[in-house]
Every structure is written in structure tokens, then in C-alpha cells.
Symmetry: C2
Amino acid sequence: MSNDTSPTDAPPTVTPKSGYHHGDLRAQLIAAVRDLVETHGPDGFSVAEAARRAGVSSAAPYKHFKDRPEILRGVVSEAMDRLRLAMEAAAAAHPTGSLEAVAAIGLAYVDFARAEPGVFRLVFSLTEGHEHAPDLQTKGESCFGVVVQAAAACLDLLPDDPQVQRRAYMLWSFVHGHSFLHIDMKTKVTTAKIDDWDYLMTISRAILAAEARG
Amino acid sequence: MSNDTSPTDAPPTVTPKSGYHHGDLRAQLIAAVRDLVETHGPDGFSVAEAARRAGVSSAAPYKHFKDRPEILRGVVSEAMDRLRLAMEAAAAAHPTGSLEAVAAIGLAYVDFARAEPGVFRLVFSLTEGHEHAPDLQTKGESCFGVVVQAAAACLDLLPDDPQVQRRAYMLWSFVHGHSFLHIDMKTKVTTAKIDDWDYLMTISRAILAAEARG
DNA sequence: TGTACATCAGTGAACGCGCGTTCACTGATGTAC
DNA sequence: TGTACATCAGTGAACGCGCGTTCACTGATGTAC
């Protein structure tokens, strides 16, 4: 009791399920891959290198993942969780139904892309060829759901109203494109520096106020 | 003269610059890589496989390209040319300054992404790490220039007016995001099927009519 | 509490593979006289 | 027109490399009695 640590047996890093050999290789592998993807691009990681970074033998990852693609899927899954949480937190910081809540969700999205461009790209390159990952698809829909909820509240309609779906998709397209252009072009092309918040507010207003057809 | 081919010495496929050994390996390699990228994703091509498809030895490509990255750059360069031409042609099919011209440019962009999702993705994954390819950057700016021109004509302002740049960037973000979401999600998430033309017209109108701040 | 056993995370050596790139070469073409 | 030479696109063999994955193993932990 004179120790400075918590009274429990002090879980190593993340998952406290046990204090086994390594402690928590799975999470550390995912972190290592995240790093690698950030440094060398979506396809620029190898199981071997990830194991090296986690300080284990090259065979160790196979105790936690079936094969290479499954590791990538793990990274994407984790990233999608974080993205959704960030979006939800952003929305919660503003009044329900406000335009600010919508813009804040967009900003969280852009911020994620900017903070982890490699992982962000990975999330969206993986959709091809990994169709048989229903959990990833579900998580993707959850993320979209956050936008839908905010748009519905803003328009004072039900989430499954086609108008809401349409506007939410517009918002998402826009923010998605902005995110990608931002990380691809860095500062170029867009000669003028953009204030993201102003920008997202303008767009949210334009999309959520525009009449359906014309 | 009794032959069924044309009177000239019948250039093999594309560039007629000479009837050398192979004829026109460079173009055929680029075509092969395009195919491979389409099939196996941006990083899923190898110099060896491309050579195999073009029917030459694995060393032959190095007579036309310095190394692997240069081949990819060649593919991207060619793709950007085609994209710009498609956008220009789309704009030319409508009255200068019309909203239709803007929407048509957007549609050309989306169509390109849909027709060649792999190459489209490649174009935008390459921007990282290939900063030292000024020709690619120039071509990218040319593509953006097409949008800027149309937006300027539509708003009746000069192309370098900040308002024009801003609106053009908004349009591009939106269309870019829509393109990516479309090829990533295929039909999913967007529960309702989208009529691209209506969609792009609505967006063009919303963006080019929206007031700057609020 | 102590012993025997089952579990299973991590080891380390090994495999076969396809890749990117190099090299000296060959042989068809274009050019100068 | 004919011959000698320079050019250079494509060859094919070879290299070293890092990778993904497998395998029998070891040794720390948790569990039953």
C-alpha cells in the first residue's frame, strides 16, 4: 500500500485481460502498424516490420491474427472506432439540432484525416476486396449515422427521411473530399489558406438550407 | 497493296514514332500497369508482371523508365491528361457560364473515377512522396483550372478572384468526395440510388449561389 | 499449501517466392560515305 | 546502290533481399485436486 501505483495489478498498456508474457501484443501490433502505415503509406507495411517494432519474433503476430490482411482490418476497425467517438464528442459539444453540431462533426472528420492521413487513407482503400468484413461495414454505417442524426435534428425530420439521407450524404461527400484534398495536396493548389470552421459552417448552411430540386 | 492494312507501315498501337523492335513498349507498359492497378489496387503491381503482360523480358522496362516509381508516375501523368480532356470536353458541350457546364465537369470527374477506380485512386495516392514531380503538379493544377474557369464564367468574375477560387474548391471537394465514396462504398451506405446529374446540378447551384459568409 | 497437468503466447529457424535491378550481350535499324 | 559503323531497344541469366507463413519447440501462467 506504500506503492505509488494503483492498487490493482497494473495492466501494462491497454487491455488488462492478463499479464501474460508480453502483456498485450495485439494492441501493440496495431499501434506499430498504424505507425508504419503513417510513415510508408497504406501498403508500405509488413508483418515482419510490425513484429520487429513490437519487439517480438516475426511469427508472434500469427498468434493474434490469421494473416496479413486481418492485421490491416484490425487497424481499420480500431481507427473507425476512434473516428466515430471523435465525431460523437464533437457533436455533443454543441446544441442538438444546431448547424454548429453538424459543422463540428465535419471538423472532427477533417481533423482525423489530418492527424492520421495514412490510416485515414487505409480505411478507405480497404473497402475494396474486404467486402467480407461485416463488422467494418457496420462501423462505417455507424459513422455515417452520426452525420445522419445531426442532419435530422437540424432539419427537424426523422433520420430515415430521404431528404435527410440525401443531405447527410452531401455533407459527407463534401467533408470527405475536403479531407482527401487536404492531405493529398498539402498546402498546394488551394492558394488561399482555408479556415476550416468557417468553411464547414458555410457548407453546412448551404447544404441544409438548399431546396431539394430547383 | 493487296494487303488489308493501311498503306502506311502500320504503327502497332499508339505512338507511331518508329517501327523498332517492339514498336512502342512504353505505351504498352503503361497500359499494362493501368490494367494491373485496376485489378490489384494502387500498390498491387510489379514491374515484372507489367513486363510479362507486355510480352517482354523483365529488364526491358528499364530501357524506358528509370525505376518502379517512374513507371507509376508515367501512368498517373497519362491518366491526368485524359481526365483533363474529359473535363474540358464536358464543359464544351454546354454554354459557357452555365450551371450545366459546371455540373458536366463534375460528372466527367465522377465518371472517370467510376470507370477507372484503381487509377483514380493511384492519382491521389501518388501525391505523397512524389513531390519532386513538377509535371504532375502542373497537370493537377490544369485540372483544377478547368473547374475554376467554369466557376468564374458562371459567377461572371475573373478566375483569380478569391470568391471564384473558394467556390471552385468547394465544388471540387464535393465532387472528389462523391467520387471516392462512390467507388469505395459501391452501392452500400447510400441506401437511395443517386441520379448523378440531378445531384451535381443541385450542388453546383447550392455552391455557386450561396452567400460567402452568412 | 503443494503438486501435476493443460493451456497457449511467444521463439527461432527455416521454406519457397517473386520482386527490383544489374549486366554483358545481341541484333535490328538508321546513317555516313 | 553498297558497305562499315553507331545506336539503342530488348534479352536472359543472375544477384541479393525481405517477405509471408509454417513448424516443432519452450516456458510462463492458470487450474484441478
